[in-house]
């Protein structure tokens, strides 16, 4: 697989490590009433879809940036690559 890094251009997938679903960006509010349940679901449950999947990739052997890679889990086709920072900010996170 080739990951089209937004800053560095096409890079081989072996330069990256995969963290998992991009939903890990959406950390629950630790002060909420239901924080215990919300953290359980956040940590341990997965959608695990067959098809399009947004996931966190870390460019460990490169510029060490975190990317959100949208990839098809049936074909391995990569359809979108974004900086995780931009995705997180667009979802209202400060960094």
């Amino acid at each position: 697989m080739i990951i089209n890094h937004p800053l560095l251009g096409p890079r081989d997938a072996s330069e990256f490590v995969v963290k998992g679903a991009a939903s890990l960006i959406d950390r629950p509010d630790w002060q909420a009433e239901n924080a215990t349940d919300a953290f359980h679901d956040y940590m341990y449950l997965r959608d695990n879809p067959a098809g399009e999947h947004a996931e966190l990739w870390y460019h460990e052997q490169g510029d060490r940036s975190w990317l959100v890679v949208t990839r098809n889990t049936l074909t391995h086709e990569v359809t979108k690559v974004e900086m995780a920072r931009d995705v997180a900010r667009a979802r209202g996170r400060s960094k």
């Binding site: 697989m1 081989d12 997938a13 072996s14 490590v17 995969v18 963290k19 998992g20 679903a21 359980h40 679901d41 940590m43 341990y44 449950l45 997965r46 959608d47 695990n48 879809p49 067959a50 999947h53 996931e55 990839r71 889990t73 049936l74 074909t75 391995h76």
Partner: protein, 417 residues
Amino acid sequence: MTNYSGLKVLWQGLTGNKGWKPVWREPEPKAEYDVIIVGGGGHGLATAYYLAKEFGVTNVAVIEKGWIGSGNIGRNTTIVRSNYLLKGNEPFYEQSMKLWEGLEQDFNYNAMISQRGILNLYHSDAQRDAFARRGNAMHLAGAGAELLDQDKVRKMAPFLDYDNARFPIKGALLQKRGGTVRHDAVAWGYARGADMRGVDIIQNCEVTGFQMDGGACVGVQTSKGNIRAKKVAVCVAGSSGRVMEKAGMRLPIESHVLQAFVSEGLKPTIPGVITFGAGHFYVSQSDKGGLVFGGDLDGYNTYAQRGNLPVVEDVCEGGMAIMPMIGRSRLLRMWGGVMDMSMDGSPYIDKTDIDGLYFNGGWCYGGFKATPASGFCYAHLLATDRPHENATEFRLDRFKRGAMIDEKGVGAQPNLH
């Protein structure tokens, strides 16, 4: 159906092998069963077999979307062992090992069970101590283990690279009772045994949804129509996420691909199973002579039964690091299978929150060895609605309770287990 015996093989051999009959029927589904098992892999078929044989529940169907043996049961590297550490796991895997030891007599089928030993190499003092601890845990469960120093390992496997500058081989943990089993014979043996006792094995029939009534599961929707059941037992390994999604459930599971490799056929070289302790590589030799080996997962979520080249390179490097002679043989074939990786590396055998719906999965890349005990314990749960005493920890809610069974201690990161 009559039993197999040496005499029968001889007689058939002398009469042109014309008397062999198919060993299971190809029935049309009935309108209703007591238990429907979704997935005709090793675990589903073993569950049906033990339900019928040990628990007297025979009004059972196994529903398989392809043909039986087309999933991971026919794709794995066939290693069986009971060398676990944690108490949630070890008695269960030892139960499985005991069932393997009696299996061929029990189901009257040649599964080519070969207990030729498994050597887990260690490369440092710290690793030796960890293996000593694991060996003690194995003794406590009655599994048996031996800690070998380098000399003893040399006698068993003289071809390893003992003095490798980076990963010298200092010794190994040996489980003599470990070994390999002919994987698809396991599926066929259980299928035959279940069919003989009245279980319907329905192939080429995909479960596409669940029939619900008042919040309870009362049957399945399939490509051959609706079938009702008092209990629906899902057992679909790598497809767990896709199937349970149809019941609205999210699981503590990610699907990943594991690749396996076979070399050209060689004369007997490797005595048993050998695993590399410093990287991830394991190897055994099949009866046909091919070296069967594998290593790490590819690491990304996937439902495609194929992997990518970086892992091929990584696995072969692992092989070269412990046994450079492997570099002289050529790779014949490679393939991948979709693994149901759980959040702590351990499986689930449990009732779900939906009445009538049961779940078995999360076997990661170690579920082949578990096949007999998984079938037995799942059958126990289905027949009695109580977990078997060796499977009490395999609950879906264990993360909520802080009761993970994390052999490797790497946390909720499925691609690292």
